[in-house]
Assembly symmetry: C2
């Protein structure tokens, strides 16, 4: 069993648009134990497409082709694949009805071009596209399966997850149950996590672990293959427990969530609210929380206090106090958190003050950050961080550390 | 002239790491009018690499291969290319000295594996690697030029820019001067901009325009080829003026800058400061400014006022006033901006209040946003926006609109 992925588009091969589909589809195939041997990107040019498709036919059992299904004349993946396989496309009356209805509903004029999308492979199968006019296609010849998918991510991704993945599972691993479990970590690097997981669990065909990193958070996806659902689940559960018993302190979610989502959900569940007082993160912390749908139930508000004057005014401290303690200090972090809690009347308040760089400040090194956590029912905690990297990375890490601290605090309750 | 790019690495073909080199190198080739016809990604597997290299030899004049130059045994791009071309690699004594010095300086033990990186192609050329131990290689055969580059971005990017790009320019466009000019736009979509530029200027071999989109900003890069520097520059200047005479209202920079950088620089140049009062953007606006190095000279601070209570308290308005006017309204945006200006003692203040979704608020539709701009020396302006998309996109667009308004205001002065 060998698979390959072909992405079609002049905007890809010229570098104007970054191809993320190949990586995504490879990860999905990995979950099904389907090995992907090649990614190829080719422009909207008949000759190059033809030779790419023919080469794929000669070496792969599964060929996934993305893009080139649009209505314009430079979209020709389907036509060129039909040519290379020696098929003549036929019009599908069901698709014609759908297309005409769709355009009528939107009161847009249908052009001759649009009807190209109603042609299908004889003996092929189509995957419906709820988010666009181009359906996906499946066709087989000489033992090779070809799948054509529309290029726009908001069409490809749901189509793959809802229809193509289940098809591939049924087709290539029909007698296996596949279960997966995500674990989200903060405070441990991707390579460290990968090495630890390698050490802790025995990976094989039946159990695959893959890491994905995004915004300083690392997601570990465990994939379990078995004959029975129960067996797949129990293998997953045991593996999860082994990992958590060693790395649990870094884990903030047993689902696929961003840290700020977990914090918003935990606050909601506990009926608590939060406020922020930020210096070096400049509003990032509040913004991360506000980016979560439904955060208005828990977010009271926040200060961005960037200058000495702003800190003096809103923290009710004297210039002398601030000069003595320093803006980047334990006491200022404490004061920031407590004033945010009191002035916004929130249950919790987080503060961040530090040196994001590129220049030192108060003779303190770049990366030195204090995070404060005040609450209604406990004394205020202040943590010192020593972060590395560029300004924006330090800001992001400081904000995520603050959120992680709050999440851990709520977990303890 | 046809080029292709091959990236090598099992981590790429399994989707664990996203390939960004192919896109980057295609863009660079485009600046040199070298057409890239294919991107191929292949794992660290001898058979697949061999067939990929042989195919490239049969169809391309320039083949750029990235990755697989490391010291471990699964790094074998150089060896497999040598095999496919029928060459025997030879040890380079200069590289041996460099390698031993490097390891001695770092007090790391040299293993046998490391010496693999001192072997080169007979009659080949090497590109030095100041950021790692693997040099780049260039070798030619039967009219095809092969360039091998190390995979890590912090090694590949400087090597390409410092050594490979100049080589390619000298080799493939020796008698041409290439000049480029970036223009940054906001408030016009990428496809609209591209279509307008298409209409306005005559693109040909001598003048190429490429658009890049990032965070709602569109950069237009104009690349001019000519025999003389002066001619290249004047062609660029004329083209720029043509574009700006039609689309100047959307242009915020004639260099490669983010909008927030342009705003920070303009504030600095004018000796002005800014503060923020944010509702639906939740701190994003302040954070964007704070993400710019040196922003502490201009950023006074900001409020995030998410709830009615927070707005009442910090805006000094009564619950009745707020209920009557609405939190998402012209008057609240005005009040937010003016209070931020007054309480933070800044020259300018920006406010944002709106419905970021996914739910309606105050019976107002998702995407309705008011942006306020207060200043010390003029009356407060309030703009209404009707934005579309998901919550995070609406927040980003609202923040960028606010920054763009401030930038335009300062430009008028």
């Amino acid at each position: 069993m060998k698979a390959e992925i072909i992405t079609v588009g002049t905007e890809l091969v010229t570098g104007q648009v970054l191809d993320t589909h190949s990586s995504y589809l490879s990860k999905q195939c990995r979950q099904l134990n389907i090995p992907v041997m090649y990614h190829t990107t080719v422009g909207d040019q008949r000759e190059e497409m033809l030779s790419t498709f023919r080469l794929a036919a000669s070496r792969s059992d599964l060929v996934i082709i993305c893009g080139g299904l649009g209505p314009t004349w430079d979209d020709m993946s389907k036509e060129v694949l039909a040519e290379s396989l020696g098929y003549t496309l036929v019009q599908d009356s069901g698709l014609v009805v759908l297309l005409e209805r769709r355009f009528a509903a939107r009161q847009i004029e249908l052009t001759e071009n649009n009807y190209r999308q109603t042609y299908v492979f004889p003996n092929g199968t189509i995957f419906p596209n709820p988010n666009g006019t181009a359906p996906g296609h499946l066709v087989e010849q000489d033992g090779t399966t070809y799948i054509l998918l529309p290029g726009p991510p908001r069409e490809l991704l749901p189509m793959f997850e809802d229809a193509v993945f289940p098809y591939l599972k049924q087709r290539f691993v029909p007698n296996e149950v596949i279960e997966s479990q995500d674990l989200c970590f903060f405070g441990i690097g991707e390579s460290k996590l990968e090495a630890e997981v390698q050490r802790l669990i025995n990976q094989n065909e039946k159990l695959v672990a893959a890491t994905y990193v995004s915004d300083a958070e690392v997601t570990l996806r465990l994939i379990s293959h078995a004959k029975e659902k129960e067996q797949a689940q129990s293998q997953l559960e045991q593996t999860k427990l082994t990992i958590l018993s060693h790395l649990g302190e870094y884990c903030f979610s047993e689902g696929k969530n961003r840290l700020e989502e977990v914090v918003v959900n935990a606050l909601k569940m506990n009926g608590k609210t939060v406020a922020f007082a930020e210096s070096c993160t400049g509003g990032l912390l509040a913004h991360l929380i506000s980016s979560v749908p439904g955060s208005s139930a828990v977010l009271q508000g926040g200060f961005v206090l960037y200058t000495y004057q702003a800190k003096e005014a809103f923290l009710h401290v004297t210039p002398d106090w601030l000069a003595k303690e320093g803006a980047v200090s334990y006491s200022t972090a404490k004061r920031l958190a407590e004033e945010a809690r009191d002035q916004f009347h929130s249950d919790y308040a987080l503060s961040v003050t530090g040196v994001a760089g590129p220049e030192k400040s108060e003779d303190k090194p770049v990366g030195l950050v204090y995070v404060g956590l005040a609450s209604q029912d406990d004394h205020t905690q202040v943590y010192q961080l020593k972060l590395q990297g560029m300004r924006q990375h330090i800001q992001l890490m400081a904000a995520k550390h603050a959120l992680f601290n709050l999440q851990q605090r709520m977990k303890e309750r």
